[in-house]
Amino acid sequence: MDERTSSTARRAGGERGAAAAAGRVLSRGRFLALLAGSAVAGWAAVKALGSLTGGWRINTVEQPRPQFDANAYRLTIDGLVEQPLTLSYGELLALPAVRQVSDFHCVEGWGVDDVQWDGVSLQTITDLVRPSPEAGFVTFHSLGEIYRDSLTLEQALLPDVLVAYRMDGAELPSDHGPPARLIMPRMYGYKGPKWLTRIEFRDRRDIGYWEERGWRVDAWIEA
C-alpha cells in the first residue's frame, strides 16, 4: 500500500528504477529489430498512401462495364453529315494521330496533372465526315448506351479536343473506357464519355447524362 500513497512522480520514478533493475528495458537487439520493423512498416504505409491519395478516382455509370472487343468494335460518325463513316479499331488507329499532354480535372475536386494522350483530333474526324450547315452540336455515345454527353460544334472543334486511344503510352486501361474516350481538357472530365462508340452531329443540343441530373452543360474549368 506504500505505492498507493506515494506521489505520481515518485511512483513513476520507482517504476522506472524497478523496470531497469529487473532487466525489463528493451535489449539493444530487440530495440534495433523494433526500429527496423517500424521503418519497413512506415515505408510501406507511405508507398501505399502515395499511390492511393494521388491519381485517378474512377467514375462510371456504365454497369456492367462495356467489354471492348477489337474485332467487333466500330466507331460510327453520323447524323447531319455529308459522308457518314464507320471505323474499325484498326482504321481508327490508322488516322493521323496527335499527342497531347494535358491536366485532367474532375468535378469532384481531384485532378491528374500531365496526362499524355494519343489519339485523333476531332477536327480530323469532322473534316472526314463534313457536317451539314444545320449541324451545330455533337453528341458522344458510350458503348453501353447509358452514358453520353455533348458539345457545341464550336467547342468540339477546339484544337485540343481528342478521341484518345492511348494514355501515358499504353492502350486505355479498362477503367478509362477502351478503346477510346473523348478528351476535352478545358472542361471537367464528365464531358468526355469513355468507351466511345458513336459521334453524332445534330441540329439541337442533346443534354448529357449528368446534365439531366442537374450538372452544368458547359463545364468550363475556371482556374
Binding site: T60, E108, G109, W110, R213
Partner: protein, 235 residues
C-alpha cells in the same frame, strides 16, 4: 453524495463520463464512422455510381454528414466553455487526455514488452492510459484536419466559384490521406471497446456513464484512488 441512500450494488460502480462527454463522443463518433464508410466508396466505382432520385447516394451522404460533423465540432465549443459542473467535467477529461507524463512512456514500453512476450507489469494508470490518450489525440487531430480539408471539398461540391481548381486539387489528396490514416486507429478503438474482453467494460462508461469499480481498479488504479480520496473513502 448522500451515502446513506446508496445501495451496495451502486457502490460497485464508479462514475466515469458525464453526459456532455458522452453526447459529444457519440455524436461525433457516429458521424466519423459514417463519413469514413461513405468516403471509402471513392475507391469503388460501382458503389459510387449508386443513385437515388438522380443523386449519387454516397457522395451526397458524405457531403451532408461532413457538414453535420463540422457543425458538431463547432457546437462542442458551447459545453466546453460553459461555466457549469458538466462543462468543468468535460474540460477535466480533455485536460487529462492531452497531458502526458513518464507513466505514459512506461505504459507504452509495457505494451511493447508484452507484444514481444517479455515479462512486464504496467504502471498505475490514471483516468486514461497512454493508448487512450494517443487515440484521443489522433481522433482530435484527424477530425480537425479532415473537417478543414473536407470543408474546402464540400464547398467545391456545391459551387465552383469560391475556390480555384488548383487549390481544391491540392487539398483533395490530403483529405484522402487523413481519411486513410484514420482507419487503423478507429478499427483498433472499435475492437477494444466492443470485442476485447479485458477492455469491453469501458463501453458501459461511454454508454451509461459508469463502470464497474473492480474493473476500474484493475485498469485505472490511480484514477480510482483519486476518486475515492475525493469521496472521502480512502482506506
Amino acid at each position: 453524495m448522500d451515502r446513506g441512500l446508496t445501495t451496495s450494488a451502486a457502490q460497485d460502480f464508479i462514475e466515469r463520463f458525464e453526459s456532455p462527454s458522452r453526447r459529444i463522443h457519440w455524436t461525433l463518433g457516429i458521424l466519423y464512422v459514417l463519413l469514413l464508410l461513405s468516403g471509402v466508396t471513392n475507391f469503388w466505382p460501382e458503389a459510387k455510381a449508386l443513385q437515388f432520385a438522380d443523386v449519387r447516394v454516397f457522395a451526397w451522404l458524405h457531403v451532408v454528414l461532413g457538414w453535420a460533423f463540422v457543425a458538431g465540432l463547432a457546437a462542442v465549443l458551447g459545453p466546453l466553455l460553459a461555466p457549469t459542473p458538466a462543462g468543468h467535467a468535460l474540460r477535466a477529461d480533455l485536460g487529462e487526455l492531452t497531458r502526458a507524463g513518464l507513466d505514459d512512456y512506461l505504459w507504452l514500453q509495457h505494451l511493447a514488452l508484452r507484444a514481444m512476450r517479455a515479462p512486464s507489469t504496467p504502471p498505475r494508470a490514471g483516468k486514461f492510459n497512454a493508448g487512450q490518450k494517443l487515440n484521443a489525440l489522433a481522433s482530435l487531430t484527424l477530425s480537425l484536419g479532415l473537417a478543414a480539408s473536407g470543408a474546402v471539398l464540400g464547398v467545391n461540391y456545391m459551387t465552383k466559384s469560391v475556390f480555384g481548381v488548383g487549390f481544391v486539387e491540392s487539398v483533395f489528396p490530403w483529405h484522402t490521406a487523413l481519411g486513410l490514416i484514420a482507419i487503423p486507429p478507429l478499427v483498433a478503438h472499435l475492437y477494444l471497446a466492443l470485442l476485447h474482453p479485458g477492455t469491453r467494460e469501458s463501453l458501459r462508461g461511454m454508454l451509461l456513464g459508469r463502470v464497474r469499480r473492480d474493473w476500474a481498479r484493475e485498469h485505472h488504479p490511480a484514477w480510482v484512488d483519486a476518486v475515492e480520496r475525493a469521496e472521502g473513502r480512502e482506506d
